[in-house]
C-alpha cells in the first residue's frame, strides 16, 4: 500500500518546486541561516563555548531592558492610536468630500512624501523644530504670544517622549491614510447608496457598512506599524539620543547599545531571539482576536 504522503510528485509539481527553489533558497540564505546563527550566538560565550541559557538570564535580568520596554510601550500607546484615528479620519474625509480626481491624486502624492523621506533626514528637520534656543516651534509659539518662556521639548522626559512620538505620527499617519483610503474604495457603492436612501447617518454608514470592509486592513496596519515601532531608531537617535537619561531609549536603541556599545554579542543575540518570539506571539494573538478574512 502506498501512503498518501509518499506519492510521487508529478512532472508539473516537480517543475513548480524547481522554479520556487531560487526564491526559497534566497529566503533560506538571508533569513533562516542568520536566524540560526543568532540562536547559536545567544547560547554561546564570546569564544564560542556553549553556555546554555546564561545569555538569556543576563538579558532578562538587566533592569535597563524593562526601562526600554516601558519606553517602547509608552511610545506605542501614543503613536498607534493617534495614527490610526487620524489616518482613518483623513481617509473618510477625502473619500466622502473630495470628488475631483486631480485633487485626490495631489493628496495621494502629498501622503506618499513623508513615507519616502529617510528617517535620518526627518530626525534632523525635527531637531530644527524642537531644539532648545533655536527650535522653530518655540519661536512660533513665542511670536504668537502663547508662551513667554522657552519650552524644553527635548529635555523634559514627558515632552521628549511626545516630541519623538510626534515625528513618528507625522511620518506614518499618511501610511494609515493610504491603506484606509484604498480600503474605502472597495466598499460597494450600491450598499452605500441603498443605506443613504434609507437615511443613515454619517456614523451609521461608517459603523455598519464601511468598517466591515476596513477590518482586515486594521490588522494589516497593526502588523506593519507594530513591527515599525519596534524598529524605530533614526529620528530618536538624532533628536534625543535616548535621553534625557534613558527616557526615550526604545527597545531598538537599547539593543543597538548592547551590541555596538557594550559589544555584548551574546546578550544582544538573546534579546533579538526574545523579541522575535514575543512579536510572533503578539502577532498570533492579534490575528486571533480580530476578524480576518480567510481565503
Amino acid at each position: 500500500m502506498v501512503k498518501a504522503g509518499r506519492r510521487r510528485l508529478s512532472r508539473q509539481e516537480r517543475l513548480a518546486y524547481l522554479i520556487l527553489l531560487p526564491a526559497l533558497g534566497t529566503v533560506f540564505a538571508i533569513v533562516t541561516i542568520p536566524f540560526i546563527l543568532v540562536i547559536q550566538q545567544s547560547l554561546s560565550s564570546d569564544d564560542g563555548t556553549l553556555i546554555g541559557l546564561r545569555n538569556y538570564a543576563r538579558a532578562l535580568g538587566n533592569p535597563q531592558l524593562y526601562d526600554a520596554l516601558h519606553a517602547t510601550g509608552v511610545y506605542t500607546l501614543i503613536v498607534l492610536p493617534i495614527e490610526i484615528v487620524l489616518g482613518l479620519t483623513f481617509a473618510l474625509l477625502v473619500h466622502r468630500t473630495v470628488r475631483r480626481p486631480g485633487l485626490r491624486a495631489a493628496i495621494y502624492v502629498l501622503a506618499i512624501l513623508p513615507l519616502v523621506v529617510p528617517p535620518v533626514a526627518i530626525g534632523v528637520v525635527a531637531r530644527l523644530i524642537y531644539a532648545p534656543s533655536y527650535g522653530v516651534l518655540n519661536v512660533i509659539l513665542e511670536r504668537l504670544g502663547l508662551i513667554h518662556q522657552e519650552i524644553n521639548w527635548l529635555g523634559n522626559p514627558t515632552l521628549a517622549m511626545i516630541s519623538v512620538a510626534s515625528v513618528d505620527i507625522w511620518q506614518w499617519t499618511p501610511f494609515v491614510y493610504l491603506v484606509m483610503f484604498s480600503g474605502l474604495q472597495t466598499v460597494p457603492r450600491e450598499s452605500v447608496e441603498a443605506a443613504q436612501i434609507d437615511g443613515v447617518t454619517w456614523w451609521t454608514q461608517f459603523r455598519y457598512i464601511e468598517l466591515f470592509y476596513l477590518r482586515p486592513l486594521f490588522i494589516l496596519i497593526l502588523f506593519f506599524r507594530l513591527a515599525d515601532v519596534l524598529r524605530v531608531f533614526d529620528h530618536i537617535f538624532i533628536l534625543t539620543g535616548g535621553g534625557p537619561g534613558t527616557t526615550t531609549q526604545l527597545l531598538s536603541l537599547y539593543l543597538y547599545r548592547i551590541e555596538f556599545k557594550f559589544f555584548d554579542t551574546g546578550q544582544a543575540a538573546a534579546l533579538a531571539v526574545v523579541v522575535l518570539v514575543s512579536i510572533s506571539i503578539i502577532y498570533t494573538v492579534i490575528a486571533r482576536f480580530l476578524p480576518l478574512e480567510r481565503a
Binding site: 533655536y134 522657552e150 522626559p157 539620543g241 555596538f260 559589544f263
Partner: protein, 441 residues
C-alpha cells in the same frame, strides 16, 4: 526563434544562475592579481565624515599624483565608522588598507589584534618634533596607566599614527573678560558675571552618552575624580567625582543655556558663534569648522583658547581625542599604506595638510607664527599636548563605560537624578560590566 523545451529552459537557467553567482568570485580573482603586487593601483581609506577627514581628502590627490596610486576615501559618520571597522576586523576583511580611528577605539582594536604593527613591520620610529603622548596613544598595550587584564604581558607596538591632533581645550570671550580663567572657580565667577538674558555664562554639552561624557571628563579629572584608579577599581562614586559632576550639573548649570541636557557640539558652537554665550570647552575641529569660520561666525577674533583650567586638584587636564591612521590586519597593501602614512607626516606635507585645515601634531607647526595667525588655537593646543593630556581609560570596554557614564551625567544635567545618585548607579553598572569582562571589580 525556435521554442525551447522546459528541460532546456531549466538547464539554461541553471547555467545562467551559476555564471551569475560565480561572477563576484571571478572579480575577486582578478582583483587578487593587483593586491599581490608591491605597488597597488589603489589604497582605500575608511574615514570619518566631517571636519576630521576634510584635509585628508584634500591632500590625498597629491600623493596620488606623486605615486600613481589612486587614493579612495570612503567616509562614514562617527558611529557607523566604528561599527564598520569592528565588523570588518572581526571578519578579517581586506576592504580597507587604512583606517581612521578615534583614540578611545585603540583598546578595542588593540585587544582584537585588528591592526598591523607599524614599528616592527614598517620601521616607524618616534620623531622628536611630535610629542611622545601622541605616539603613546597609538601604542598598544598602553605604555602608561592601567593595562586590561587580557593584555598584560603583551609586547607593546605602535599601531596608529595621529593625523588629527585633537585635545579638548577651553574657549572664552577675550573681548569681554580682562584675564583668562586659571581655575574652574574663575570659570564660575565669569559665568556669574557675564550671564544675562539671552547671553549664557557657560555652555554645557550635555546630550546623553558621548557628548556628556566628553564634556565632563576634563572637569572630573581636574577635580581629582576619575572613572577608574590604576588597578581598574571604579572611582566614579568617590567624593571628588561627585563634587566635580555637582559643580558642572548644578553650580555651573545655573548660568548655562536652557536645554543643556540636549546640547551637542553643533548647538554649542552655534551659541558661541552667534555671540550668545561666554565660554565652554571645545575641540579644535569646532574652532576651525564654526567658531573661527569666515562667513559663519560673528565672534571671529573675539575668542581666546587656553588649556583646560585647573580644578581643586591643582591640575587642569585636557582630554585627548586624537584621530589616528592605522593599517588593518586584513589589508594586503600594508607596505604601500605605511608609505602613505610616512608621506603624510613628513614636515612639508603636514604643513600643506595644515594649510588645508588639518590639525597637526608637530610642535614646529603648532608654534609656527604664520600658521598660528589662521589657527588661533594652535598655541593652546601645543601647551595642552606638552602638558600630557589625559586619555580616556584604555579598556576595550570603553564604549560601554562611556555609555553608562554619559547617560548618568545627562540624567544629572536634566535634573532627573542628583549627581550623587546618578554617579552611584553608574558606578554599580560599570563595576558589573567590567567584572563580566574579566576586570577586577
Amino acid at each position: 526563434m525556435e521554442p525551447i523545451s522546459r528541460r532546456e529552459f531549466v538547464k539554461r537557467a541553471a547555467v545562467a544562475g551559476a555564471m551569475f553567482t560565480s561572477f563576484p568570485t571571478i572579480l575577486a580573482a582578478c582583483n587578487s592579481t593587483n593586491t599581490s603586487s608591491n605597488k597597488p593601483s589603489k589604497l582605500t581609506i575608511a574615514a570619518v565624515q566631517g571636519a576630521e577627514d576634510g584635509p585628508l581628502k584634500k591632500v590625498a590627490p597629491m600623493y596620488q599624483s606623486q605615486t600613481g596610486i589612486t587614493m579612495e576615501v570612503v567616509e562614514f559618520p562617527y558611529d557607523q565608522l566604528f561599527e564598520k571597522l569592528v565588523t570588518t576586523f572581526q571578519a578579517n576583511g581586506s576592504s580597507y588598507d587604512l583606517c581612521m580611528m578615534d583614540d578611545p577605539w585603540m583598546p578595542k582594536f588593540g585587544t582584537m589584534g585588528a591592526l598591523q604593527p607599524l614599528d616592527s613591520n614598517f620601521g616607524f620610529t618616534r620623531d622628536s618634533d611630535i610629542p611622545s603622548i601622541v605616539y603613546d596613544v597609538g601604542t598598544w598595550p598602553p605604555p602608561k596607566g592601567p593595562v586590561p587584564p587580557s593584555e598584560q604581558g603583551k609586547t607593546q607596538h605602535l599601531y596608529g599614527i595621529t593625523i588629527v591632533g585633537n585635545v579638548e581645550m577651553f574657549m572664552y570671550r577675550k573681548d569681554l573678560a580682562t584675564s583668562a580663567p586659571g581655575s574652574w572657580n574663575d570659570v564660575l565667577a565669569n559665568a556669574q558675571k557675564f550671564n544675562k538674558a539671552n547671553f549664557y555664562g557657560y555652555v554645557i554639552r550635555g546630550k546623553a552618552t558621548n557628548p556628556a561624557s566628553s564634556d565632563s571628563l576634563p572637569i572630573l579629572w581636574s577635580f581629582g575624580g576619575d572613572i577608574f584608579d590604576s588597578s581598574w577599581k571604579v572611582l566614579l562614586d568617590s567624593t571628588a567625582s561627585i563634587d566635580a559632576i555637582t559643580f558642572l550639573t548644578q553650580t555651573l548649570k545655573k548660568y548655562a543655556e536652557p536645554g543643556a541636557e540636549n546640547t551637542d557640539a553643533g548647538d554649542r558652537d552655534r551659541l558661541i558663534a552667534i555671540g550668545q554665550a561666554f565660554q565652554s570647552t571645545t575641540w579644535p575641529a569646532e574652532v576651525t569648522g564654526v567658531v573661527e569660520a569666515q562667513g559663519v561666525s560673528q565672534v571671529i577674533g573675539k575668542m581666546a583658547y587656553i588649556p583646560i583650567p585647573q580644578g581643586p586638584s591643582g591640575k587642569g587636564l585636557g582630554m585627548m581625542g586624537n584621530w589616528l591612521l592605522g593599517i588593518p590586519k586584513g589589508s594586503q597593501n600594508g607596505s604601500a599604506a605605511a608609505d602613505f602614512i610616512k608621506w603624510l607626516i613628513k614636515p612639508d606635507n603636514m604643513k600643506t595638510y595644515v594649510q588645508n585645515g588639518g590639525i597637526p601634531t608637530r610642535t614646529s607647526l603648532l608654534n609656527d607664527p604664520t600658521l598660528g595667525q589662521t589657527n588661533p588655537y594652535f598655541p593652546a593646543l601645543a601647551q595642552s599636548l606638552a602638558a600630557q593630556p589625559n586619555w580616556r581609560p584604555r579598556t576595550d570596554q570603553w564604549n560601554a563605560v562611556e555609555t553608562i557614564y554619559g547617560t548618568a551625567v545627562n540624567q544629572a544635567v536634566a535634573g532627573l537624578k542628583s549627581p550623587k545618585d546618578a554617579l552611584t548607579a553608574a558606578a554599580t553598572q560599570i563595576r558589573s560590566a567590567m567584572k563580566q569582562a574579566g576586570y577586577p571589580s
